[in-house]
């Protein structure tokens, strides 16, 4: 078992003909992901190493039965790409592209909610999702994830998602699904969406959550954990030592007006019974303790 994607997920790559789309599309296929189609209105009818290219998602879905998409389209085209996938009836959309304007994100998030409530959007600006051994959608290096569970991972930061997978692999701990939700202002999928899914997944027995300074998503996740989760959680918040007022790369990663500090987030998580590490390695060690106690 897993959350959101598994061995039966069929994926269309929006932007498969671009350099990033082709590179990761083929890496994902080599991993075992069902890469069934690509889209590019100017290259419909061609193929990328045997994967057929269609003008849009609707045609790709009709021909291949795709039920997920992965977006590698440059930022100016992401709004249309998300709506194209939704109109085609695709249920799961992972948008890897970074640099999408926040107003576009706010618009398509709320348009999906209003007009296509069945669509789950992951990202933008995320590494994607991997159910180890079954399906890898995005830019995660597949070999750093050990299949089989019992841990689910959710992370707001790309490279720290890999770091979390790696810490667990070093300790021979398997992962059901690892979801990178991305650090943008309006993430399609939130910590809470993932925690809820992991709580419901019988094979996931514990959850590792990687957050960042800025915003209040971690505090909201802590409240959810306190009220709704029976499974143990370990966590790390990046930016423990970040100075206030400095943006650390992500628009989201900023401590302003005393809000969004790592300390406040860690306190909220500790209060919810989460075991909080001061760096990714410590969070991995705490997860190893949790797994040993299962």
């Amino acid at each position: 078992m897993s959350v959101f994607v598994n061995k039966d997920t069929k994926v269309v790559y929006q932007g498969l003909t671009g350099s990033q789309g082709r590179y990761y599309g083929m890496l994902n296929r080599d991993y075992g992901t069902n890469v069934v189609a690509g889209t590019n209105p100017r290259k419909a009818g061609t193929d990328v190493e045997g994967v057929p290219v269609f003008a849009n998602c609707t045609e790709a879905v009709a021909a291949t039965g795709a039920n997920a998409s992965c977006i590698f389209i440059p930022a100016p085209g992401v709004f249309d790409a998300v709506m194209d996938a939704a109109e085609a009836g695709i249920e799961f959309v992972a948008c890897i592209t970074e640099g999408v304007p926040a107003h576009d994100e706010a618009r398509f998030f709320n348009m999906l909610k209003r007009d296509y409530p069945g669509v789950r959007l992951l990202g933008p600006n995320c590494p994607g999702i991997i159910t180890p051994g079954e399906c890898n959608i995005g830019i995660t290096a597949g070999h750093i994830a050990k299949p089989g569970g019992p841990v689910g991972i959710v992370s707001r930061s790309g490279t720290l998602t890999y770091q979390a997978l790696y810490e667990l692999q070093q300790k021979d701990i398997g992962v059901t699904t690892c979801v990178g939700i991305g650090g943008d202002p309006v993430p399609g999928t939130s910590f809470i969406d993932c925690l809820e899914a992991f709580e419901a997944d019988p094979d996931t027995k514990a959850v590792m959550m990687i957050g960042e300074i800025g915003g209040s998503a971690e505090e909201e996740a802590a409240a959810f954990i306190k009220d709704n989760m029976s499974k143990p959680v370990s966590s790390y918040i990046a930016g423990v030592t970040a100075p206030p007022g400095k943006k650390m790369g992500h628009a989201g990663a900023i401590v302003s007006g005393g809000k969004g500090t790592a300390a406040a987030k860690m306190d909220a998580l500790l209060d919810a019974g989460v075991r909080v590490g001061l760096n990714p390695t410590e969070a991995g060690e705490l997860m190893a303790e949790i797994v040993a106690e299962l």
């Binding site: 290096a141 707001r156 720290l160 770091q163 943006k247 650390m248």
Partner: protein, 386 residues
């Protein structure tokens, strides 16, 4: 992800004016002579206002009323060069003075929790909204706007009526705030704030200050935003890094940090602190770090005289191990790096990368297997060199 773009007050007012909002006539001045000439053209009385990317200008003496051209001369000489919260005043905005009956506050920004736009309006303007929120939260009228629907006139009116402004201001406020919403959305702003929005004795509602932060990710559809890039406040190191397209934040320590991805870079800064060191910077080289990007990053770090050791922390996703390895080797050829480098390399093709680097390792370039080990080594090397 590019950082946001902060506008000076005068740039913000011109931005608002472009969306049809009422602002005062004024001119930018870089010297006392220019300030005097501007005041002569505009006609006194005028306001002499420091243009800096920080709040608290009034308290610091950076905003003065000038009844005459002589006053302009005096105030301009006092304000130019003034240090306000670490920001030195290099330019002034000279604008026609307005009579004020009442001061209001208005803004739009994204409410990340609600994933909708949040409008805030208060009859208690002219002070910091954080103060109003803390002391008298009921004085702030709020409206959540669904980005898929926009701000209707009806919703804007209900919002304005909830703020208990002077009834004489209501109709004009509704019109101005609807324009403010358009400026916020069509202009791709992270924040638009008017504080104060004033009611004059003649009954006109008018924009008296402007704070605008734009989303740099939207520059592709606003070519004119390139003009704001050169007025962003950056220290010398940050300017050099920005010129090379790197995400850099200067800190005050001795361990230079290079990592790929904002989260990992932040985490690297954390770990250096936790093992007893002081990071000199945050530097995210992003995905696809080729030799040129790595050389640029090392050059920026190398130019920081406080750096005693460099910690390169790479976990390959998009960035592949052999690219990182070739990048470091290429960079060492191109740049004469003074401080020793500690490298930690994992992820996509890490083994290939380590193999490429193996023959190049020496006392100035060492490799460690984990993030913590590498941090300890870098901190020890920095301490030994200090």
């Amino acid at each position: 992800m590019l950082p946001a773009v902060d506008l000076f007050e005068y740039q913000g007012k011109q931005f608002f004016k472009g969306y049809g909002m009422p602002v005062s006539d004024g001119e930018v001045a870089f010297s006392v002579d220019e300030a005097v000439a501007a005041a002569q053209r505009l006609g006194t009385p005028v306001m002499v206002k420091a243009q800096v990317h920080t709040g608290g200008r009034g308290k610091a003496g950076g905003v003065k009323f000038a009844a005459s051209v002589d006053d302009v001369q005096t105030h301009a000489s006092n304000i130019l060069g003034l240090d306000i919260n670490g920001h030195v005043v290099r330019r002034l905005w000279i604008e026609k003075a307005s009579d004020i009956s009442e001061e209001y506050y208005a803004s739009f920004t994204l409410d990340r929790s609600a994933k909708k736009h949040l409008g805030m309006l208060s009859a208690e303007g002219g002070v910091e909204i954080e103060t109003v929120a803390a002391e008298n939260p009921d004085a702030i009228s709020k409206v959540l706007v669904d980005p898929a629907e926009g701000l209707t006139e009806e919703a804007a009116r209900a919002w304005v009526e909830g703020a208990n402004l002077n009834p004489a201001a209501t109709d004009q406020a509704v019109e101005i705030l609807r324009k403010l919403y358009v400026a916020y959305t069509e202009g791709d702003a992270d924040l638009v704030e008017i504080n104060p929005l004033i009611l004059t004795p003649e009954g006109r509602v008018h924009v008296l200050d402007a704070k605008v932060t734009l989303d740099a990710n939207a520059v592709f559809r606003h070519e004119d935003y390139a003009q704001y890039d050169e007025t962003q406040p950056r220290d010398e190191r940050e300017e050099a890094a920005h010129a090379k397209g790197l995400q850099y934040v200067g800190l005050a320590g001795s361990v230079g940090v290079i990592a790929n991805g904002a989260g990992l870079a932040m985490s690297t800064v954390d770990v250096v602190n936790q093992v007893g060191g002081k990071p000199a910077n945050f530097l995210d080289i992003g995905g696809g770090a080729n030799a040129q990007v790595m050389a640029n990053a090392l050059e920026v770090i190398n130019n920081d005289p406080d750096v005693r050791a460099i910690f390169i922390n790479i976990f390959g996703g998009i960035t592949r191990g052999e690219e990182v390895a070739n990048g470091i080797i290429g960079a060492l050829d191109a740049v004469d790096i003074e401080a020793p480098i500690v490298l930690r390399l994992d992820g996509t093709n890490a083994a290939e990368g380590r193999e490429i680097l193996a023959p190049h390792l020496n006392e100035k370039l060492v490799m460690e297997p984990t993030m913590l080990d590498a941090a300890r080594r870098a901190v020890a090397m920095a301490a030994a060199a200090s």
